[in-house]
């Protein structure tokens, strides 16, 4: 859609920030890779990964940070609610959520090029990573990646909407960041989590942002189950977002004169 393309262009105004992000993601990718290599050399075959899988997982998760916006934010909506600029967004002949989703997809597309591709290439050059042989796996991974962005958006949109009710969203933002980091598989692959914690983590929406697309790439998961899981969370979060948007127009103050 046209708005996504403009989202892409809007973000391309901030190339320096994206490049700085890419650099950081790469450096941290290298650090994490060494930690994971040490772990997997001590415990080979842990969680069904070998060393190469673990390193690949590490660089994939670094690549997801930008597009999936794992550190939170990305949706300007929270800021616009706080300043009252959301009034202008509500004047448009478009749903607030669809509008923001399109913009976010454009953002993710731009950040994919600048913040996902370079760290992954550096990781491949330095450590060597697993590359799927089947073209079908690449196609499934692409679908899983896009679904991951949509789930991530669905979640961040809800967090941003919370500022309609609680005025200052810094609390929810930092809570969201911790949850996203931990339960997405960003800190450690979720299949390392023991027992019920592992089961819970694998069924929460954050798993759809890192663990699931990475496993689709590595061929560790049944593809249909994985995509279905992501699609289900995407639908659930977007539906919740639509309800919350409706409620916001009835219940709350749109700030500013």
């Amino acid at each position: 859609m046209r708005i996504a393309w403009y989202g892409f262009r809007r973000h391309s105004a901030y190339r320096a920030a994206a490049l700085a992000g890419a650099f950081t993601n790469t450096v941290f990718g290298i650090l994490r890779a060494y930690v994971l290599i040490a772990l997997w050399e001590a415990r080979p075959g842990l969680a069904g990964y070998d060393v190469a899988d673990a390193v690949t997982f590490c660089f994939l998760s670094q690549a997801f940070i930008g597009p999936m916006q794992l550190f939170g934010g990305g949706v300007q909506l929270a800021e616009r609610v706080r300043t009252g600029d959301v009034a202008v967004d509500l004047l448009r002949p478009a749903s607030l959520q669809t509008w923001n989703l399109a913009d976010d997809l454009g953002r993710a597309g731009y950040l994919f090029l600048l913040r996902s591709v370079p760290p992954t290439l550096v990781g491949a050059a330095l450590f060597g990573i697993v590359t799927p042989a089947e073209p079908a796996t690449w196609a499934f991974f692409a679908a899983s990646f896009v679904l991951g962005v949509v789930v991530s958006f669905g979640w961040r949109y809800l967090v941003a909407l919370s500022s309609f009710w609680i005025v200052d969203d810094r609390g929810t933002q930092s809570l969201s960041m911790v949850m996203s980091m931990f339960f997405s598989g960003m800190v450690l692959p979720l299949n390392l989590f023991p027992g019920w914690l592992g089961t819970a983590a694998q069924s929460l929406p954050w798993a759809a942002m890192v663990q699931v697309p990475a496993d689709v790439y590595l061929g560790k998961k049944d593809v249909l189950e994985a995509l279905g899981f992501q699609a289900l969370w995407a639908a659930a979060l977007l539906a919740l977002g639509a309800l919350a948007t409706r409620a916001a127009r009835r219940k709350v103050v749109v700030q500013g004169g």
């Binding site: 403009y6 004047l91 500013g256 004169g257």
Partner: protein, 257 residues
């Protein structure tokens, strides 16, 4: 064009014991016919912005019934958006990071304006509002006067039958103000566009509005022509004094009383 029937809007503010209900607008009723040019006045906090937010469908009223351009704003927000144009003087609907021309192009897609109509209308507006010099400048580099002209253009590209303006001349210099007023006067006279204008600038009112409505503490305090308004005060008072007296609720004692 605009029908407001016993509309009320209250907000609950504060928490716990400090919780109370604020009635921003109560039992407000008025109608605006096609082709009218109405000034909507009131002191700060009187309920002007709340009224405008309800008329545009941004906020749902807590009681009463509204109709704008034949639609119920609360339930038909996006359909209504295609029929009305709105400018908030203190906010912008333009895309900050994109050239002005690209914002218009996006508006065209959002409002599904036919390409030829768009081209001729933009050419006409660019001529009338003298946009030629900065059509390709990113919005963030525009001066306030230029941005405001851009915002008015964006609000008119889909040829709305109703134009709602919230302080469109705020912060503009004398020359820009005069140009803006002349433009609005012609728009109303030549195209028959219905205009509802809120402002604190009485010059706007004197030059443009054939009818004035004054809202105070959420209720309509005055509705009539400029001459009617002047007649509420004994001869000689400036328009400023007349309005100030109405704002502070001071009325002349009834003759003979």
């Amino acid at each position: 064009m605009i029908e407001v029937d016993r509309v009320g809007r209250s907000f609950t503010v504060g928490r716990g014991r400090a919780r109370r209900t604020v009635h921003a607008v109560r039992e407000l009723s008025f109608t605006v016919g096609a082709g009218e040019f109405v000034g909507y006045l009131g002191p700060n906090g009187a309920g002007k912005s709340t009224t405008i937010k309800m008329l545009t469908g941004i906020l749902a009223p807590t009681s009463g019934r509204l109709e704008v351009a034949g639609l119920d704003p609360t339930h038909r927000r996006t359909a209504l958006a295609r029929r009305i144009g709105v400018v908030f003087g203190q906010r912008t609907t333009l895309w900050w990071d994109l050239p002005l021309r690209d914002s218009f192009e996006l508006v065209r897609h959002l409002y599904k304006v036919d390409r030829d109509d768009f081209r001729s209308r933009l050419a006409e507006l660019a001529e009338l509002l003298d946009l030629g010099g900065f059509l390709h400048t990113p919005v963030r580099q525009l001066s306030l006067g230029q941005r405001m002209r851009g915002d008015i253009t964006a609000a008119l590209l889909h040829d709305p039958s109703v134009l709602i303006l919230d302080e469109p001349t705020i912060g503009l210099d004398v020359v820009s103000k005069a140009a803006m007023r002349e433009f609005l006067r012609r728009l109303n006279a030549e195209r028959g566009t219905t205009v509802l204008l809120t402002t604190h600038d009485l010059g706007d009112i004197e030059k443009l509005c054939r009818r004035i409505m004054l809202i105070d503490r959420g209720r309509l305090g005055f509705d009539g022509t400029l001459d009617d308004l002047r007649a509420t005060a004994p001869g000689g008072d400036s328009l400023e004094d007349v309005v100030a007296r109405l704002y502070t609720g001071e009325r002349e004692p009834a003759p003979g009383g």
